[in-house]
Amino acid sequence: MAESATGTDVPSREQSISSEFSQFGEKAKVAFTKKNRLKVMVRREDLVDIATFVRQKLMFDHCTNVTGTDFPKEKELEITYHFGSTDGAGLRGMILSLACRVPSGDPTLPSLISIFPSADYHERETAEMIGAIFTGHPKLGRFMLPEDWSDIPPMLKAYRLPGRLEAE
């Protein structure tokens, strides 16, 4: 889903945050910058370092959402953390997304709950719904689905809703 940086109307605040990631070189690639939104692609081995930087230097203090998306053609899952800031100066309303692609056959990535405690339930939900394994999370397991659920994680594209035509 990587998009090139869009247009020239991107405000300077987003651009200055975006340029902060240049110090990581290849480790963090800015996927897009638009008004109040910024998405950065990271590798799973760099996720903890960059999340720590986002928390401590950029002052994003809570996780608003975690999205797990299945890309069966690429045989990859994309786990996207979205961070917001309550106390960071001038960061209200801004959403910074850190996206990490992991192979479907080995969907492990480090848990970020020691840096962002607010990611706790989001990670549990994502683990269950898409099958990602957040190493270091103390309590992955049944959360939203029935305790006797025995099918594959339902947000994988291979899981089809019974009685429905094709999904997108």
């Binding site: 889903m1 998009e3 897009f32 109040n36 939104r37 998405k39 203090d61 809570h62 996780c63 608003t64 959402n65 975690v66 999205t67 797990g68 998306t69 299945d70 996207t80 979205h82 917001g84 309550t86 106390d87 209200r92 309303g93 959403i95 479907s104 056959g105 969907p107 962002f116 405690p117 607010s118 990611a119 706790d120 339930y121 989001h122 939900e125 683990a127 269950e128 099958g131 309590k139 992955l140 397991g141 049944r142 959360f143 939203m144 689905l145 029935p146 305790e147 594959i152 994680p153 339902p154 947000m155 994988l156 291979a158 899981y159 809703l161 429905r164 035509l165 094709e166 999904a167 997108e168």
Partner: protein, 377 residues
């Protein structure tokens, strides 16, 4: 592909002689089907494990099988007390991906419906909080008065609860004749009723005794846990998507965002009360300021969205509601991820209950305005 997951952590563990594990729910512990396990030692709660998911209907998955417009009735059923505010961010994300601009009058109509919905949701919350505190009059009054506002919503949206009023491209229809007069009448009535509520309930010694200093969530912890909405504002954080990232015309109307330094159940209740007044203030301004013009831009049933992604958020009744919509260029979303305020506030429940008395549990639980159907999606 099967991914191994550790076994369930929700089994009842052996407990010592002086500890007892109690399962609260899932048969409607207050509002909605939800279970939480508490461990009590005497009268004190020593552990709390929430177990959501009893009303999980896979709303996110269902959007992958439907066109953008078709997803609306599915999504609004996830939050029946707050239908406008759960659809609006989805429509905003769809409009961003489709490159559709909506007319100014539609934006004002969205604000009117959204704020009316906030009052409806808060009155429902107030009724349940009343009965949880043993105050049956406070259950009857708000639920009765809520009907008057539902009538108003019906005038605008055509249905009483699930009106699917907000659609990609604008809103479904314009104001009916006589709406403005009726709305002013209804809000004048509600203003006087809120004064009655205040006299009857919010200044009642019983209410004060049972809420002050109960379930305190300090400011730094509220931010750390990422709670939203009235819960966050009651913890002395002036945060509201309507001012942080104004959508529609929230930057052109005057309203206050209430905050309290107490950070307790009392503060969370008072935030709800003040927000109802502020919502009426916003609607009055919208009705006065609203320009004439069209109320929707045409978006066809099979309209395709550009490939890409959009992250939109609004301030729903219970807090920030955000949608992450990923499109591959088709007429259906490739992936929709909803972050609902109830789910985000759930993380505060164990934090607040552990160390509290059992008798305070209903007041604390409902002060979070946790709506299981919304949280489970």
């Amino acid at each position: 592909m099967s991914i191994p997951l550790p076994s369930s952590g929700l089994l009842t563990e052996p407990i010592s002689e002086d500890k007892l594990t109690v399962s609260i729910g899932p048969q409607h512990p207050g509002a909605g089907h939800f279970r939480f396990m508490i461990t009590v030692e005497g009268d004190t709660i020593t552990d709390c494990v929430p177990d959501p998911g009893y009303v999980h209907r896979g709303a996110e998955k269902q959007t992958e099988y439907r066109n953008y417009v078709q997803s609306i009735p599915v999504l609004e059923r996830s939050s029946l007390t707050d239908v406008t505010n759960i659809i609006m961010p989805f429509c905003m994300a769809a409009e961003e991906l489709m490159g559709v601009q909506i007319p100014p009058r539609a934006k004002y109509l969205r604000m009117i419906m959204s704020e009316n919905q906030r009052i409806i949701s808060h009155l429902y919350w107030l009724g349940i909080q009343g009965i949880f505190l043993g105050h049956s009059t406070m259950f009857m009054w708000p639920l009765g008065d809520r009907d008057v506002l539902i009538d108003l919503g019906q005038m605008l949206g055509g249905a009483r609860i699930t009106y699917s009023y907000v659609i990609p491209g604008g809103v479904r229809n314009d104001l009916p004749s006589g709406f403005k007069d009726k709305a002013f009448k209804v809000y004048d009535y509600l203003e006087s009723r809120l004064k009655d509520y205040e006299r009857m309930f919010f200044s009642h010694p019983l209410f004060l005794k049972r809420t002050r200093g109960v379930g305190v969530l300090p400011r730094d912890e509220a931010i750390k846990l990422g709670v939203v909405g009235p819960v966050l504002r009651a913890s002395d954080v002036r945060s509201d998507v309507r001012i942080d990232e104004p959508y529609n015309f929230y930057d052109e109307v005057d309203f206050e965002v209430p905050t309290f330094k107490e950070c307790d159940t009392y503060a969370r209740c008072m935030v709800h009360l003040i927000e109802m007044r502020q919502s009426m203030r916003i609607i009055r301004q919208c009705l006065e300021k609203m320009p004439q013009g069209p109320v929707r831009t045409k978006v066809t049933m099979t309209q395709r969205a550009a490939a890409g992604e959009a992250y939109s958020q609004v301030e729903a009744s219970r807090g920030a509601m955000s949608f992450h919509v990923i499109s591959t260029g088709g007429p259906k979303p490739y992936r929709t991820k909803i972050s609902v305020p109830s789910f985000r506030n759930l993380i505060a429940l164990p934090r607040l209950l552990i160390g509290s008395h059992v008798a305070d549990m209903p007041a604390i639980y409902w002060s979070l305005d946790y709506w299981p159907v919304e949280a489970d999606r």
